[in-house]
């Protein structure tokens, strides 16, 4: 199947600085695809390249197999939901939503039908006559969405559409957006710097850093099997350990760091004696006065801090080589160590992963 949007080797320089470098992406028809990365990593720029507001310095962009994307913005079948909505302030909700259809010179009757339908879909019936400034943030957001969706574009691009909303509304809108995308089946490319949002909504995520795409995958893949140090660090919380690789037996490799040896499952790379980075998520770490056997990694340590997070507690344990590991312990579990306690901390080899430095 032809991808909805395809970027090959796209690079862009802005103000003498390489903002997007060698980006390859292939976004499938009907997919909810997120671009995730810290502020300033080039997400908006990538989106503007797809929309045609910028032209790539190198590489090519194809929309539904058609390209090269030299067509100016007004001729592209992608619609953008702007970071601050960019609703036309002098037009009513109705006129804003109808604008795109009028540009396509659709018959009046059809415009009326389509606008009504889409306003019902985003639950804005009864607000047709209002001006944007008479709407709440969430309502404006939905107008922007309706305006982008109504012309039935190949792709809708959304640039941090929930960024201006408060936390509660944000959560509600996440669910609504996702449901809307499911129902309409339109391809969404969604930009956000909020990893939780990306994990919760996306079919697939591309993690960006300094203009590059570091990893593309489903939320599970990104979270469970990060491939680079940055991805592991940026998505969720993690423990990172640097060390040298040593071949070990039966599908397990060992990493030596300051005299301690860590076992890592899933082998594969065992060429030996190279500098590597190991990551293990706090929820995979077990802490206790005495741990039972069965864990490939087990170290004695001392609790240095313990922070309360509502449903869980983050326990910081310093182990032999001075490294502090963080462990996520559900509240209400049997014994909760206090700072100063001598404990053991451990995790299975399969929970740890080797990642490449960026």
């Amino acid at each position: 199947m032809v991808p909805a949007v395809e970027l090959t080797g796209v690079g862009k320089e802005l103000g003498g600085q390489k903002v997007v470098r060698g980006v390859d992406l292939s976004i499938r028809e009907g997919e909810f695809f997120s671009l995730l990365g810290p502020s300033g990593c080039g997400k908006t720029t990538t989106l503007r390249l797809i929309a045609g507001f910028e032209t790539p310095d190198e590489g090519a962009i194809r929309i539904r197999g058609r390209g090269p994307g030299r067509r100016p913005a007004f001729a592209r079948e992608v619609n953008l939901v702007f970071q601050n909505y960019a609703l036309f302030p002098h037009m009513t909700v109705w006129a804003n939503v109808a604008f795109g259809l009028e540009m396509e010179r659709r018959p009046k009757e059809e415009i009326r039908r389509e606008v009504e339908a889409i306003l019902a879909l985003v639950r804005l019936e009864g607000l047709e006559g209002r001006y944007p400034r008479q709407l709440s943030g969430g309502q404006q957001q939905r107008v922007a969405l309706a305006r982008a969706l109504v012309t039935d574009p190949a792709v809708v691009l959304l640039d941090e559409p929930l960024g201006a909303l408060d936390l509660k509304l944000r959560k509600d809108m996440q669910i609504e957006l996702k449901a809307l995308q499911r129902r309409t089946g339109v391809t969404f490319i969604y930009v956000t710097h909020d990893q939780e949002e990306a994990l919760a909504m996306s079919d697939r995520i591309a993690v960006m850093h300094e203009g590059r795409v570091l990893q593309v995958g489903t939320p599970e893949e990104i979270y469970e099997r990060p491939q680079t140090r940055f991805v592991a660090h940026f998505i969720g919380e993690t423990n990172l350990l640097e060390g040298r690789l040593r071949p070990g037996g039966n599908g397990v490799v060992e990493v030596e760091s300051d005299g301690l040896a860590f076992a890592v499952g899933g082998g594969g790379r065992s060429s030996g004696d190279e500098q590597v980075i190991l990551t293990v998520r706090p929820e995979h770490l077990v802490v206790g006065r005495r741990l039972n056997g069965g864990l490939e990694n087990r170290f004695a340590g001392e609790v240095v801090a313990s922070a309360y997070h509502g449903s869980e507690r983050m326990v910081h344990v310093r182990i032999g080589n001075g490294v502090v590991l963080r462990s996520r312990v559900p509240n209400g579990s049997a014994e909760l160590p206090d700072p100063g306690d001598a404990v053991e901390v451990g995790w299975p080899a399969a929970a740890a992963r080797l990642v490449s430095p960026d």
Partner: protein, 277 residues
């Protein structure tokens, strides 16, 4: 100090009260006085009767349409010019803008005088046209005609148009043009349906300023217009400074002008508040 703003305001208020408000009020008083040397203190509406003189009405009419033409001229070149300036890179933008304002700050007669040397018969323009073989037998006859006045007025008052229009364009969020293009609008539709309505308040203010100023301009028609193309400004000046003097008629004329302009201002303020919803 915060509680005593009046101490700071009082000198200015008194000064402007004495030398601005009071003089303006006197216009109304003199308009209903009798003709004398220069004014005889008696009450009467005779000055307003003299407004309907066959010599006065055509002048009022001419002032109205010449001012309208000059306003349209300013808009026609000032609007695209403002767009041009707003789209310059940030650093050079100020410079382009100042280049428009500087002739206003140096609004001297001397520039109008320069226009007379350009437009006069056998002046620079006709010289140039003659060399290019474009000069009609009788010359252009530009100076001392309404077109010369309009050129002069557009020249002198263009900054009054650019100032508010440019300000409204600077406030305009150019992402709205991106949004329009994104939804499939071409360049003409985007400008007409998004940029223009959003900058309309600036346009209204600009037209108002230019119309008010050009309507009773006196120097431009005096230097570029000549005796056959008087505007109301010339008429007022003559009634005050040339013989035979008629101050009440001059004051009545000024009053009529101010009243007419007030109506224009009032209407456009209504329009503007409608625009801003």
């Amino acid at each position: 100090m915060r509680s005593r703003p009046w101490l700071l305001l009082l000198p200015g208020l008194l000064w402007l009260g004495a030398f601005f408000l009071l003089p303006l009020a006197i216009i109304a008083v003199v308009a209903v006085a009798d003709r004398g040397a220069p004014v005889a203190w008696g009450f009467g509406w005779s000055a307003f009767g003299r407004l309907w003189d066959p010599l006065v009405v055509p002048v009022l009419w001419r002032s109205a349409w010449i001012a309208a033409a000059a306003t349209l001229g300013c808009l026609a070149i000032g609007y695209p010019l403002s767009y041009f300036i707003v789209r310059r890179p940030k650093r050079s933008r100020r410079l382009w803008y100042f280049l428009v304002l500087i002739p206003l700050a140096a609004n001297s007669l001397v520039l109008l005088y320069a226009w007379t040397t350009i437009l006069r018969p056998a002046g620079l323009l006709e010289n140039l046209a003659g060399r290019l073989g474009l000069l009609p037998e009788a010359g252009f006859g530009l100076l001392w005609s309404p077109p010369a006045i309009i050129i002069g007025l557009v020249y002198w008052y263009l900054p009054f148009m650019v100032y508010p229009v440019y300000a409204s364009m600077e406030r305009f969020d150019f992402r709205l043009l991106e949004a329009a293009a994104d939804l499939g609008a071409g360049v003409r539709t985007s400008v007409v349906r998004v940029l223009w309505p959003q900058t309309l308040p600036g346009v209204v203010t600009g037209c108002l300023l230019v119309y008010m100023q050009t309507f009773c301009s006196f120097v431009v028609p005096d230097l570029l217009g000549g005796a056959k193309t008087l505007m109301v400004g010339n008429l007022i000046q003559q009634r005050f400074l040339s013989l035979p003097q008629d101050w009440p008629l001059g004051a009545a004329l000024a009053l009529a002008v101010v009243a007419a302009l007030a109506v224009v201002v009032w209407i456009s303020m209504r329009v503007q508040s409608r625009l801003e919803g």
